[in-house]
C-alpha cells in the first residue's frame, strides 16, 4: 500500500502525450494544475473549476475526465492525452482540421476539452449520429457557437477518419 503523508511530496510517473514524466507532487495537487503549472502544458483550460463546464477535459487512458476534479497523484502510472498531444508528425489531427474547416470555435476556450471528448467519442463510435454527438459533448459547455458548428466539426472529423 502506498502512503503519502499530508503536505509531503511523492514521485509519480505519468505518460503525457506519449512522453513519460516523473515529477514530485503533493497529494492535493489537481491534475489540471499539474498539467498547466508543473508541466507548462497550458492548452488544458480551467473554466468553472467546479466539475460543470468540461473546459479542463483530458483523456485518462483514453477516457475523457475533468482534470479539475482529479488529483495528479491518482494518475500515477497512467496515460494522459491533452490538446498538445493531438497533432502528429506536424499534421493537425482530423478533429483539429474539422474545427478549422467548419469554424467550430469562436473564443476557443472550450475547444481543447471539446476536441478531446470528440476524439474519445470517435474512437468508440466512428459514425455517430447528430444526436449521439450532442449527447457525447453535453458535459462540455460552449458559450459562443451554439454548438451548431461544433457538431459539424465532429462530423467532418468522423468522415475524415473513416476515409483514412
Amino acid at each position: 500500500m502506498s502512503v503519502t503523508t499530508a503536505g509531503a511530496t511523492q514521485a509519480i510517473t505519468v505518460t503525457v502525450n506519449g512522453e513519460e514524466r516523473s515529477v514530485e507532487v503533493e497529494s492535493r495537487l489537481l491534475l489540471v494544475h499539474f498539467l498547466r503549472d508543473t508541466l507548462r502544458l497550458t492548452g488544458t483550460h480551467v473554466g468553472c473549476d467546479t466539475t460543470s463546464c468540461g473546459a479542463c477535459t483530458v483523456l485518462l487512458d483514453g477516457v475523457p475526465v475533468k482534470s479539475c476534479t482529479h488529483f495528479a497523484i491518482q494518475a500515477d502510472g497512467r496515460e494522459i492525452k491533452t490538446v498538445e498531444g493531438l497533432m502528429e508528425g506536424g499534421q493537425l489531427h482530423p478533429i483539429q482540421q474539422g474545427f478549422h474547416e467548419e469554424h467550430g470555435l469562436q473564443c476557443g476556450f472550450c475547444t481543447p476539452g471539446m476536441m478531446l471528448t470528440a476524439v474519445a467519442l470517435l474512437a468508440e463510435n466512428p459514425d455517430p449520429s447528430e444526436e449521439e454527438i450532442r449527447w457525447a459533448i453535453s458535459g462540455n459547455i460552449c458559450r459562443c457557437t451554439g454548438y451548431q458548428n461544433i457538431v459539424k466539426a465532429v462530423q467532418w472529423a468522423a468522415a475524415k477518419l473513416r476515409e483514412a
Partner: protein, 308 residues
C-alpha cells in the same frame, strides 16, 4: 481552488482499505462529489483512501438470483450495460441522466449512494427496486436494506470504518419494468424533481410497486402509499391518477432556485404518472417519453389539471 492537505493512501485490497479507514478518513472512488466538496472546503478529510487500484471491484452482474453492483462500477458502465434495461430499466435510465457524460466516466454507484445527497438519482432508483447495500468494516460484513440506509441529508447508516462494498438487487421477475424521469434545468444540473418507478406484474396486475422520489425531501423518499395503492391493480388511468396524487402528497419539497415547493410537488405528480405509464409499457402491460423532461411539458400538464 485547492483542497486542504490530506494523507493519501492507495491500498491494494479491500482489507487494506478497511484497515486504513479511521476517524476523519474518506474513501476516494470516482471523487465526483468528494473532490468538489474538498475544493470548496466543505470537506477537509485528514486522509483519502483511494480504492481505484483494487482489482475486482468493478463487477456488474447477475449472480445467484441477484444483481450485484461492485464499489467501482461507474455510472457510465451502468448506462451502457444491456443488463440494466428491461426489468432493471429504472437503473439503466437513472444512470444515463446523472450529471453529464464526463462525470459519468468516473462517478460510481456506491460512491453516490454513500454520499447520500437527497438530490442524487441512485437513491430513488434503489428505493424503487428495494436494493440492499453491503457494508464491510473491521467487525465484518453486514447487509443494510436501502430503507434503513438513508438517515438524513448526506448521512447514511454506515459506521466509521465501514466501506460500502456492494449494492444488491433481488432478481426482478420477468414481468417487471421501470422508468426514471428527471426534470432538470440543464444537462449536469441536479434534479428539480425526479421519480423512479419499478413495477412487477402477475396476471396483468401489479404484484409489487416501487416508487422513489428525488430532490423533494431530506433524503431520497419512498412514496409508500402510492406504491400500496397500485398493488393488485391494472395500471389504468384511474390507478395512475391515484398513485401520482399520493406520490405528490409524500413529497416534502422546499422552494429554491429550481422552483417553488408547490411547483415541485406538482412536478412529482406529473412525473409519477408518466413514469408509471412508461414502466407498464416497458413490461408490455399497458406511449413513450424521453428521460429528460422539459419544464414546458410539465407546466402544461399542471395547467391542464388546474383547469379541469
Amino acid at each position: 481552488m485547492y483542497p486542504a492537505r490530506f494523507e493519501y493512501v492507495r491500498p491494494e485490497s479491500l482489507d487494506e482499505a478497511i484497515g486504513a479507514l479511521e476517524e476523519d478518513a474518506k474513501v476516494l472512488a470516482g471523487g465526483m462529489s468528494l473532490i468538489p466538496l474538498m475544493k470548496l472546503r466543505f470537506a477537509a478529510p485528514a486522509k483519502l483512501v483511494d480504492i481505484n487500484r483494487i482489482e475486482g471491484l468493478d463487477g456488474l452482474a447477475e449472480d445467484g438470483g441477484r444483481l450485484r453492483i461492485g464499489p467501482l462500477v461507474r455510472h457510465g458502465a451502468c448506462e451502457r450495460s444491456p443488463l440494466l434495461r428491461g426489468r432493471y430499466g429504472v437503473l439503466g435510465e437513472a444512470a444515463r441522466l446523472i450529471a453529464d457524460p464526463i462525470v459519468r466516466n468516473l462517478g460510481t454507484v456506491c460512491g453516490s449512494l454513500a454520499h447520500a445527497d437527497p438530490s442524487g438519482d441512485w437513491g430513488s432508483a434503489m428505493l424503487a427496486v428495494r436494493a440492499e447495500v453491503v457494508a464491510r468494516g473491521p467487525n465484518g460484513e453486514r447487509v443494510i436494506p436501502i430503507d434503513e440506509f438513508f438517515v438524513a441529508p448526506f448521512t447514511t447508516s454506515l459506521q466509521p470504518g465501514e466501506i460500502l462494498t456492494e449494492v444488491r438487487v433481488r432478481d426482478a421477475s420477468v414481468r417487471a419494468g421501470g422508468a426514471y424521469l428527471k426534470l432538470e434545468r440543464k444537462v449536469g444540473d441536479f434534479a428539480t424533481a425526479a421519480v423512479a418507478v419499478h413495477l412487477s406484474f402477475s396476471n396483468g396486475t401489479v404484484e409489487r410497486a416501487g416508487i422513489g422520489l428525488t430532490a423533494v425531501g431530506p433524503t431520497n423518499l419512498r412514496a409508500s402509499e402510492a406504491e400500496q395503492s397500485l398493488v393488485g391493480k391494472a395500471v389504468d388511468d384511474a390507478a395512475i391518477e391515484e398513485a401520482s396524487r399520493l406520490a405528490a402528497q409524500a413529497a416534502q419539497p422546499v422552494a429554491d432556485v429550481r422552483g417553488s415547493a408547490e411547483f415541485k410537488r406538482q412536478a412529482i405528480r406529473v412525473l409519477t404518472a408518466r413514469a408509471l405509464r412508461k414502466a407498464a409499457q416497458a413490461t408490455g402491460e399497458s406511449e413513450s417519453f424521453s428521460g429528460h423532461e422539459t419544464i414546458e411539458g410539465v407546466m402544461e400538464e399542471i395547467r391542464e389539471k388546474e383547469e379541469s
